[in-house]
């Protein structure tokens, strides 16, 4: 086993980890602002994939070109779901909240099966088909572009939260919604914004993945478990935490699977999670 092979797996791990991170950023945003666990988050990713797929299948538009539109669509969907459903259960018992988002998950999967059939689909020839090779290492261009897109989107979310008034208002609501309301921040708007942004992040991740990952109605379930781990690992509500946790989990999964046994790659990830929760219950970057 050569150092080169190890470097290759390490970088592959980082590439997939960056995509995991973007999915988790959306989830952690919603949780951070509202304390609601969104079980339908994987379905946002699935819908993003299908948006990219149909753009390609019907109009020959590459998933990367339709990316802004996918983001907008998912943003609108997230905000609308908040207005129509989530708003009514903000103060309901936790079980109602779980059932509501869990129900949405089942609804979206069922709809996708009904409307688009349970078949596996994929975007045939994306503009990003090809390979990046250097120093004896090689990576698929779709994977590299997806990782880059994920970093850029995560950075944009980060910038928005840190450097805009609206972002600051969102963070203020997350920190203390009563105090924020007293300062004149409309909590309802902030919640809708969080849902919109959260869904858009997952949608963008889906569109980026669609250039190389098969698309099917249950695809969300594949990614959601990792996203949950990242949110807890990085610290509930912490965007930066989710980002670093994404990279960490990607590397542990790929390198660990390579060095040990791929059958146990999720065991490694979940053990890491248990370890962090044990030593640092608030997560890597969470506030105690």
């Amino acid at each position: 086993m050569t150092a080169q092979l190890l470097l290759q797996t390490l970088l592959s791990g980082i590439l997939i980890g960056l995509v995991y991170a973007l999915v988790a950023v959306g989830l952690t945003l919603i949780f951070g602002v509202m304390d609601i666990v969104n079980f339908a988050h994987g379905e946002f990713l699935m819908l993003g994939m299908y948006a990219a797929f149909w753009g390609f299948a019907l109009w020959k538009l590459d998933p990367l070109f339709t990316l802004p539109l996918t983001a907008l669509l998912l943003f609108a969907l997230g905000a609308a779901l908040y207005r129509l459903i989530i708003r009514r259960i903000t103060d309901a018992p936790m079980l109602s909240q779980i059932f509501a988002t869990f129900g949405l998950m089942i609804l979206f999967r069922g709809l996708a099966q009904y409307l688009w059939k349970p078949d596996f689909r994929s975007v045939g020839e994306s503009v990003v088909a090809g390979k990046v090779a250097f120093a004896g290492l090689q990576f698929g261009l779709p994977q590299v572009v997806a990782a880059l897109g994920a970093v850029l989107t995560t950075a944009a979310v980060w910038w928005f939260l840190r450097s805009t008034r609206l972002g600051a208002a969102l963070e203020a609501t997350a920190a203390d919604k009563e105090a924020a309301a007293l300062m004149g921040i409309d909590a309802q708007k902030m919640f809708a914004l969080a849902w919109g942004l959260g869904a858009a992040c997952a949608g963008v991740a889906g569109a980026l993945l669609s250039t190389y990952y098969p698309i099917f109605p249950e695809v969300g379930s594949t990614f959601i478990l990792v996203a949950f781990v990242l949110v807890a690992l990085g610290g509930f509500g912490s965007v930066a935490g989710a980002f670093w946790a994404g990279i960490l989990v990607g590397v542990v999964e790929v390198v660990g699977g390579f060095l040990w046994d791929p059958a146990y790659k999720m065991v490694l990830v979940l053990s890491l999670y248990l370890l962090v929760v044990w030593l640092r219950p608030q997560g890597l970057l969470g506030k105690a």
Binding site: P214, T222, V255, F258, D261, P262
Partner: protein
């Protein structure tokens, strides 16, 4: 006629008709056929049903142009030309429903024998019911090896089971060595870690050892993984000649994309059916799916060497606008095997049919399958069953083994990704 006497005549006529009924029933031999006609596998179930019905109609009809057992006999000659009647039942994909439907067919429809059920899980329960009642059960298309390892007396299976299919892959390798001088030795196994993949991997290890092959790597992975990079890196590091892979569709696609991404090129990729044989696989992979080798139970291009396949396929196309596939071809064959045995028994008594089934010996040229014939061993398994090996060439699946049935020569080795 005096109108007042009419009821009497009517009654007499009815009595006469009633007396005739048992005699009329004698002219029909009922076979219960259980398939998933509703639910997730309904479309497959319908294909199976259509194929089975075509087989029965051929036996009941008078078209003698097909060289299949009893085709064109106009019924079963040794049972005074009694017609074959298939009574279809729907198991909905559920083992419980399969068992109750089997019971209903036996006790209420009074079928002479049962066939079905496609799903190994349902065949298991339905055949248990048949065993309890002592009614012959002939399965044509369930491939779980356990089915014929239960010591049942009334269960017969025409299709080869999964273990035989795995064995075929090794026979194919041996033939490559004998007839083409190719000597692949290093085998790596990649399999999903549920029952299908782990079961296949175990068998592959067993046959590799027996054949003197070296297993250089064995990678089991969780199905529906987000990435298969570590798996493929492990394979790549082991430098195998052959990768034997058992994957469902999503993982089959993802693994192929990862092979390409990481530039992994074994001498050959020998897949174990499943995802690789799904039509969606080739649709998705396009020309990147080329050169994949897989096992299959049947292929339409066998018609080039077996004209009876082309004829039967024309008939099916004329009726249902679809071609035969591995499942429907086996369902079709099961009805012929069953009818042939019942006819030879010359009776509908379960014991007679059971005895006739045990003595079945249908030659290869009377089948639309690539088998050496039908002859059951003491467990009820057809000992002459065999699979075929196909390869994707130019986006088409072509038969490459057994060599005497092959449509095209196998392309070996796998060309590297940048030379395609």
């Amino acid at each position: 006629m005096n109108p007042s006497r009419r009821p009497t005549y009517l009654a007499a006529a009815l009595v006469a008709l009633g007396l005739c009924l048992p005699a009329a029933a004698q002219e029909e031999i009922k076979i219960g056929v259980i398939y998933p006609l509703t639910g997730a596998a309904a479309s497959t179930g319908l294909e199976l049903k259509n194929a089975a019905q075509l087989a029965a109609d051929l036996i009941n009809g008078t078209d003698r142009s097909l060289n299949l057992p009893l085709a064109g006999a106009g019924g079963l000659p040794k049972l005074k030309g009694a017609k074959l009647k298939l009574v279809f039942a729907d198991h909905q994909g559920s083992p419980q429903v399969g068992a109750t439907e089997a019971e209903r067919l036996i006790t209420q429809e009074k079928v002479a024998a049962l066939s079905g059920c496609y799903f190994s899980s349902v065949t298991t329960t339905a055949s248990q019911t048949a065993e309890r009642y002592g009614v012959p059960f002939l399965n044509g298309e369930s491939s779980s090896p356990q089915l014929t390892q239960r010591g049942f007396k009334w269960f017969f299976r025409t299709t080869p089971h999964d273990e035989l299919f795995v064995q075929n892959a090794f026979e194919f390798l041996r033939d490559l060595e004998k007839k083409k001088g190719l000597k692949p030795r290093r085998i790596a196994i990649l399999a999903e870690n549920t029952e299908f993949g782990t079961g296949a991997a175990k068998l592959q290890e067993k046959y590799a050892k027996e054949g003197g092959y070296e297993i250089v790597e064995k990678v089991l992975y969780p199905p529906k993984s987000t990435q298969l990079t570590s798996e493929v890196q492990k394979l790549k590091a082991a430098r195998p000649d052959i990768v034997m892979q058992s994957s469902y569709l999503g993982d089959a696609i993802l693994s192929m994309k990862t092979y390409k991404e990481l530039g992994f090129v074994p001498t050959a990729l020998v897949a174990n059916n499943a995802g690789f044989n799904d039509s969606e696989f080739l649709k998705t992979m396009g020309k990147d799916g080329d050169f994949v080798i897989s096992r299959e139970v049947w292929a339409l291009d066998l018609a080039a060497r077996k004209p009876v396949i082309a004829k039967a396929n024309e008939l099916l196309r004329a009726r249902h606008q679809v071609d035969f596939n591995g499942n429907s071809a086996r369902a079709f064959t099961a009805i012929f095997a069953l009818a042939e045995a019942i006819n030879r028994a010359g009776s509908t008594k379960p014991e007679d049919i059971q005895k006739a089934l045990r003595e079945t010996n249908i030659p290869a040229d009377q089948l639309i399958m690539p088998w050496g014939g039908i002859q059951f061993d003491e467990t009820g398994q057809n000992r002459k069953g065999a699979g075929i090996i196909i390869q994707v060439q130019g986006g088409q699946k072509v038969t490459v083994w057994p060599f005497d049935l092959a449509g095209k020569d196998v392309i070996w080795p796998f060309p590297s990704w940048d030379k395609r």
